[in-house]
Subunit: 384 residues, 4 copies
Amino acid sequence: MKRKVAVVITARPSYSRIKTALYAIKNHPELELQIIVAASALLERYGSAVNYIEQDGFEIAARVFNVLEGENLTAAAKTTGIGILELSTVFDNLKPDVVVTIADRFETMATAISAAYMNIPLVHIQGGEVTGNIDEKVRHAITKLADYHFVASKDAYERVLKLGESPESVFNTGCPSIDLAQMVLDEPSLDFDPYQKYGGVGFSPDLSKGYLVVMQHPVTTEYTQSRNHINETLQAVNGIDLPVLWFWPNVDAGADGTSSGIRAFREKNKPEQIHFFKNMEGRDFLKVLLASKCLIGNSSVGIRECSFLGVPVINIGTRQNKRERGHNIIDVGYDRQEIAKAIDFWLSNPRPAQSHVYGGGRAGEEIAQLLSKVELKFSKTISY
Amino acid sequence: MKRKVAVVITARPSYSRIKTALYAIKNHPELELQIIVAASALLERYGSAVNYIEQDGFEIAARVFNVLEGENLTAAAKTTGIGILELSTVFDNLKPDVVVTIADRFETMATAISAAYMNIPLVHIQGGEVTGNIDEKVRHAITKLADYHFVASKDAYERVLKLGESPESVFNTGCPSIDLAQMVLDEPSLDFDPYQKYGGVGFSPDLSKGYLVVMQHPVTTEYTQSRNHINETLQAVNGIDLPVLWFWPNVDAGADGTSSGIRAFREKNKPEQIHFFKNMEGRDFLKVLLASKCLIGNSSVGIRECSFLGVPVINIGTRQNKRERGHNIIDVGYDRQEIAKAIDFWLSNPRPAQSHVYGGGRAGEEIAQLLSKVELKFSKTISY
Amino acid sequence: MKRKVAVVITARPSYSRIKTALYAIKNHPELELQIIVAASALLERYGSAVNYIEQDGFEIAARVFNVLEGENLTAAAKTTGIGILELSTVFDNLKPDVVVTIADRFETMATAISAAYMNIPLVHIQGGEVTGNIDEKVRHAITKLADYHFVASKDAYERVLKLGESPESVFNTGCPSIDLAQMVLDEPSLDFDPYQKYGGVGFSPDLSKGYLVVMQHPVTTEYTQSRNHINETLQAVNGIDLPVLWFWPNVDAGADGTSSGIRAFREKNKPEQIHFFKNMEGRDFLKVLLASKCLIGNSSVGIRECSFLGVPVINIGTRQNKRERGHNIIDVGYDRQEIAKAIDFWLSNPRPAQSHVYGGGRAGEEIAQLLSKVELKFSKTISY
Amino acid sequence: MKRKVAVVITARPSYSRIKTALYAIKNHPELELQIIVAASALLERYGSAVNYIEQDGFEIAARVFNVLEGENLTAAAKTTGIGILELSTVFDNLKPDVVVTIADRFETMATAISAAYMNIPLVHIQGGEVTGNIDEKVRHAITKLADYHFVASKDAYERVLKLGESPESVFNTGCPSIDLAQMVLDEPSLDFDPYQKYGGVGFSPDLSKGYLVVMQHPVTTEYTQSRNHINETLQAVNGIDLPVLWFWPNVDAGADGTSSGIRAFREKNKPEQIHFFKNMEGRDFLKVLLASKCLIGNSSVGIRECSFLGVPVINIGTRQNKRERGHNIIDVGYDRQEIAKAIDFWLSNPRPAQSHVYGGGRAGEEIAQLLSKVELKFSKTISY
């Protein structure tokens, strides 16, 4: 009998990150994949990841709407509570042999708690990293709930061990997002028209002379300031004479500040150089990044895929604070001048070298292989 | 303005353990106590801790019924989900400056997540201990969510540091349950009739020649076996010619197995030496223990208060597996013969020496003092 | 393509009542049955109806644990809220073409609201009856949410029309529980030993000289009095020199009063003539009733099946207050003397005539037939 | 001791409608007002009614975030489930003597069920009306759950009686929204600049020559079409040479279609004559209506306040289908030509006469008076 592997996907970026692992699980002869789509991955205003999942040929075992409105911290907590309530029922009905939870978004805690409390072996992908905000509380707490840890870098591997996990439960698989980056490197050409394929709003400046990409999420511990933060970035890129492809933030407390900041800026400035996208299929997004002058914002894509691709990045603020990184990062504050200066630097300097800090491009297959082999245990004790 | 300290109490034993700290907070000139009573602490069949809390003179700021029926693992997870959903609303309305969560029962995770996600500084009492079951996952995960750690022993202190918490956030206050034990040592006489004061069911054997006490909880990772486990204990004490005061288990997956095991045994054997209590006020319970020949079961009271009081304990099974202990413990398996043999040992040997491994009896005041002094922060990063 | 018919079963008695309709739906060539089991139908202490459903050969499409502990009115409301939250997800995943809800227990409102709000045509079985307590609020409110009404009697039919429903949406199918009663009449012999087949607790008095049956539920609007109520019945039957088969009440606010009343009585009186059952398969229960001297309590079985079977009934209190009835009912208050007097009456008088007020025994098939034919609409307006 | 009256407000328009009653309750010597704010009344993108409530001098007893994202029908059901779960806790803690629920929005059912199930007397304001969509199911179901009915018109009064409610529980108070309209008639001048006072987005056309007002909500049973519906209205008003003040729709399944329809239209047409408001304080809104040429859309304000004020209305589609109305209404379909023709009619004909069908302007005080006098009962039976 095949092992039933439930993977809970709660957001567009998590899906992109894990996609190659999902294919590998689906194709593994000893595994049966159960995809559960929940939270913002179901919502139109965060890019309906669920549609991409289906278009990619995956079957969806269950859908769980659990995002509570409010875009404040109370709502984030309650979203997690509803997630637990409902994922428990889903697990009770699907009866997976193992549950996979991805990374550190607040609502992934729901997956972790439901599985851990129901004595279902829990695999955590991308634990052990350091960032320095609420994500970090979530990430390390999930490490303490998980039975297996498939980490993305050597630093993360060491850190999970220090957290008291036993060596036989920790595996450095690299990050599956790098698998996709490897495929993009194999076929790097920007073979589609982003405006045509993905719509979006705003002007459609000519991209042939190069362009910038922006993706900036609100930071939850500072959510009242998110409108100011986004405004600094808007002002910075508005002053550069290059087209800008701007990607809408994902669901987080504070998204309202970010969103309303963007809307107010557009209303007032009608920026002719900026086009706004809600979302983009992962491979296409990497191609857009690879062809860009640089990425600006605080997305983990800058730290991970861009380091592997050698794309220059201007990383703003504290969100990726302490994450391990390649040579492609310039860190700046929420300050239009700092941001503008860093853009100038990348426009006038050679691209950075590629880095393998987050793995070498075969993480998906390694994850599937491990899922088929590890002992199905759900009990552990701290190693010290 | 006083600091508002919300303490969430979800079970009878947690209340007993924390009571002296609650008094100290209530009486502290710079603190305002907000007691929130939830989960099994509100339910009659787990001893209605809420009634004791009120009788002790505390005001209750909010009540939250969140125990989902089922007494299986799905219900435990869902209870936690509902807890988050509702505690978030309670915190949003009460606006505490700091939230206190106690120990490691599954539903305490709800308190931790609500507070952590809402950026309210979170204090965890009694983290850092080791036991080796689901409690351990919960306990260490809460450590990773908490901003401050008031631990009960030196070992626990070291372990919380190893988990990556910064030294200025960890304090060894000792266990407040020991404060109560100290008061009992000051006035040790059994100055009430347990049958009269606490009712209960079963026969009422004469206690003047000595008696045994039993308190055995189901162990969640083995819940289908809980009926067998309890039966071994019942058979073991049934063979001893001494009265037995038996305390009903608290709410946990498997309680049904334990409860129905006890009911079936009573129905069949009509044991004339055993009296069953639902619950007992903390100080009275310690006096009953102090006057007993020994405690049998798997309650943490055996490890903690009994070590301080020098009461002999027969600790059954894995529940207190790796918890730090004094010289008063004999560990046995779920085996009537092992249990009976250990009872014989304690009946024929001198009582063990007292131990201060869980503190010296002033934890409550120290906790209140710390709550009034620590910086109100809710952001942290791992120390390695 | 077959019409997908979701039937939500939330309690043991609802399952018994609807069983023949479930078989007819399952066997209908144009229907696909989706059984969803929720609330007390999943819980051991209310007789685990789910086990009988499976033993009867039905497949279960989803299970939803949603009973909140407390056995008070707050818990009843919250149970309904959780039910809506989860049934919505279940409906969203199973995509039924029509949803069936049964009768008037508080938690059936969850089924009705989820379906009505999700624009799924809703069929209500057994609306239009009158009882005079919270059930009545629930029942008529569900009528106003439902698109079709399959009622059990002529009075109910008229009443649903008066409530403003259009005549083409109301059908008097009779009660499917009568179908089962018809089968029992076809093979009436008590061909099993109740003690052996169903266990239970208490003494096992000889049934060959006749016996009484008791089934008394707490009444929610009077729940603090439920302990007194049950005590009157216990005292009444204790004074009669006949065996008593006593059936445990179902989950309702106040069950605790009823349960603890029974427990206290047993503890004190050790009644040698009374045996207590948790539950019994429907057909066997009807055979037990048919062979009994009379039924005492407030169950709707007395009103419905017993009128068809011609079994004498002593109906206590307000629970069945105004329900249409045959000639087999004596109504009494919560008063041991009234109850005892009514028992005497039935012991010394001939059995009442059979009545067809709740239909003639083919309701199940008619329900299935209607489900396959009615227009799938979910919009309506009041008829006046 | 004062009677504690809990009023649950879940949306901006409900607050406007009930405001004079809230003042009257607050000022009544025998009543204590407990305002509970929930659902979209807390959310910024639906106009943060909560801020107006506080600015108007009311104290808020509890806030409950319960809107689940999705803007589909599943989310509406789940929002209601969460509402029940949380309002039950709120009622359990606030212990109101009577609960008031307003009108017929889907989430008001949560208030009704929590109160009815917890045996708290429930007053329903504005039952008995007819509209012909999901609102109608909700409205009449709440009538069947409520103990008292304070209706707004003679027709509604008759209908509630027909629904089987006893005459002593039904009172025709008129609609409290008319109280406010009466105050506006007393001081009718448009004494503020809407653009300056309420911001909003879009152009700011000169209003001195007259203007139109639009307020059009999505209709839940047709939510996939809501984008088309709104587009017809946008096209119709775009062709008229008059300024348009457009008010954003409230939270309902389908709001996304409506919102995105408006956004797409703005993006494409940059309509210079249209200004968009998120919300407006009730009295100001009535003044804006009174000074307008006509109101276009499907808001109940057109049926109620505008009939009293004698403001011409073009009522689109089925939402107010069968509601009782004055002479100020022209009903049209979702059709730009029909809408445009009706606008022409009102622009070239005299204003309609005022009507008192929804009361005479003292509803608020009458409601408070009734709340202080009615018997506190929570049990009823149908009258036929």
